[in-house]
């Protein structure tokens, strides 16, 4: 059976603004296997969230997918009970059409970044979760409510029967995020897109949520696209990792490889910027942020977009020629002139 769930090829999503064109995602390729967790890492503004929204086809205006393919391999139950895969070219369907809407929320679900703001303040969580259920499953209101309570229970909601009628402002951040996760999982998606689901939470809650997500993944067998800038979380959650910078994937590898053998200078810089247990004091002093900030999206530097900040840059090369994305070793790709196939 085909093990691939999602393929993204040469995805380009641009924002057309008065100030110019912001190339938020500028040629991204990756693939997610069923049940696999893919981490997408990068600083703010590198295009990770836009990638996620491109997959869901909810890129906000004035953004638009200008090039590339996104293919979803959907499992469809045949009449005899066996399953077959159905390839859907997401980039070619109407983003607000019924097909796409049918996929959103059921096949692919989103857990957004800010649990505080991601729930409507004037509707109960039961209403909002139930709505998702009734949207994709033919159930009555009562059934939807029962299912909602069941989902809340699943995500570890204390007293879900009472809490189902609570308004978001009555819940703590952690509970809100659990509610959002419950909503996302309510239709058993095959792909869960988690966009920094824990950034807004405190460390303890973050740990709980992460744990919850892992256990649910095992239980429900879904794939997760886990977007984060936190390498620690990446290590904890994911199997494969892609690193993005300025709308491009600069490196892709298994999680161990990334941590132990980063190829791209940007990945190395990222890794250096996090403290690690067992770090020697001398090394700890070298813990440093990457210098500078992400450049202006309308003014992507010529050549390698990372070169102004790169400490390994080669003058006359990095600022002139754009590096190609190559598989440096099996299963480990990078985009840097330092590497050759």
């Amino acid at each position: 059976m085909d093990n691939t769930l999602l393929e993204v090829k040469n995805l380009k999503t641009y924002f057309f603004l008065d100030e110019g064109t912001a190339r938020a995602v500028d040629g991204v390729d990756f693939e997610i296997k069923r049940g696999q967790t893919l981490g997408i890492v990068g600083e703010s503004g590198c295009g990770k969230s836009v990638t996620a929204r491109s997959v869901l086809r909810i890129v906000p205006k004035p953004g638009r997918i200008v090039e590339g393919e996104i293919t979803l391999h959907r499992l469809v139950a045949k009449q005899d009970g066996s399953k077959m895969t159905d390839l859907i070219r997401l980039t070619e369907v109407d983003p607000m059409g019924s097909l796409m809407r049918g996929l959103r929320g059921s096949e692919m679900a989103l857990v957004p970044q800010e649990p505080m703001a991601s729930l409507s303040p004037v509707h109960t969580i039961g209403d909002q979760i139930g709505e998702a259920i009734r949207l994709h499953q033919k159930v009555s209101k009562a059934e939807a409510r029962a299912k909602t309570i069941q989902m809340l229970e699943l995500v570890g909601f204390p007293r879900p029967k009472q809490r189902v009628d609570a308004y978001p402002y009555q819940l703590s951040g952690g509970l809100r995020q659990r509610a959002v996760i419950a909503m996302a999982l309510s239709c058993h998606p095959s792909l869960l897109i988690a966009d920094e689901p824990t950034t807004a939470l405190d460390v303890t809650t973050e740990a709980q949520i992460l744990k919850l997500m892992r256990s649910l993944q095992q239980e429900l067998g879904m794939a997760i696209m886990y977007i984060t800038h936190n390498l620690g979380v990446v290590a904890q959650m994911t199997e494969r990792v892609i690193v993005m910078y300025m709308g491009k994937v600069v490196e892709e590898a298994n999680v161990d490889t990334i941590f132990h053998n980063p190829l791209h200078p940007y990945t190395s810089a990222l890794l250096r910027s996090i403290p690690r247990l067992g770090m020697k004091a001398r090394e700890r002093q070298r813990l440093a942020s990457i210098r500078g900030t992400v450049p202006d999206p309308y003014a992507i530097p010529k050549g390698c977009s990372f070169h102004p900040r790169c400490d390994k840059k080669i003058r006359g090369v990095c600022d002139q020629q754009e590096p190609t994305y190559i598989e440096v070793e099996p299963g480990h790709k990078a985009r840097c002139v330092l590497y050759k196939q």
Binding site: F15, L17, D18, E19, G20, A22, A24, S44, G45, C46, G47, K48, S49, V50, P60, Q113, E114, D195, E196, R291, G292, T293, V294, P295, D296, P297, Y298, A299, P301, P308, R309
Partner: protein, 387 residues
Amino acid sequence: MADLDQVKPLDTSPDIEEEIQSGGEKVYVAPPWKLMWWRYRKHKMALISTVVLILFYFVALFCEFVAPYDPDQAANQFKQVPPTAIHIRDTEGNFHMPFVYQHKRVQDPQTLQITYTEEPSPRYPIEFFVHGFQYKLLGLWQTDIHLFGIPQGKDQQGLFLLGTDRLGRDMFARVSYGARLSLTLGLVGVFLSLAIGVVLGGISGYYGGRWDIVIQRVIEFIRTIPQIPLWMTLSAALPATLSVEETYFGITVILSLVAWTWMARVVRGRFLAMREEDFVLAARLNGSSEMRIILRHMLPSFLSYIIAALTLNIPNMILAETGLSFIGLGLRPPAISWGVLLQEAMNLRSLALSPWVLAPGFAVVISVLAFNFVGDGLRDAADPYAR
């Protein structure tokens, strides 16, 4: 949309490397007013409106120069003349510099209606800088030069861009003179309400607490009383013996008594937002005095908001003056304001027989629109994310 935050066009982070050689560079080094101008420039309607307003205020300032005739000069032979048609081509098809033909007046003996027809000759060429009635330019220089007109003067033939009223007075001249009172009343009123608004709004926002509660209650209370009935009541209390200047001032004060509440809310809101800002905290830790903090640090940072709010309030003032004068509670003749002119024009006989006397109504609408557009533009320019 966390990532999209970065799509914001203007990030003024200071520590950017010199190596970034790109088109966006100037953005980072431009002073704030320049940034505002760049943003403002994009608002096309605001730009057009700015030009319109400059024109209007020019007329208001130099109305004696702009008006070809004395706005109070009545002339029987020019009673209710429709706007004069300006020709550049005579009946034989020859082109000339712009000129007007002579009006011939016919009065219907039955209905008493006056109609004017054009006689194809003689031609009266329109000229610039012609001699007309005497006046003092800006109250300083005695002169009789007017921007445009026909040199023959009003005795034979008039050039009435907006027609004449029931006494044969030139509407264009009257609208121009009216601009002086109406447009400045808006400005003066707004500055007056700004003064009250900034002080009270500032106290409310900066000190907060009990002051805030009291001032907020007062604002809510004032706004509870419907404006027009309140203004009506206040204007009815203005003695009718007041001179034009005194009435003008009185009306301005009355309008400001309500309008300051809007200013105060804007100021308070800005203060509240800014009170917690780091730079204010820093200044305070530095030991700066409160006054210095307000004047040196806070005020400049929200000046743009105030200017935008001011601009958006001027049209309200203009409309209020118009409304009050219209029902006879505002300015009164011999003052010439747009409201006074409208009061004279707002009757069926004018609508039916000489609709052009509604011209001041259009002046009101255009200036109100222009102020709105300019205000919108300024607001967007001051803060593109605040609505």
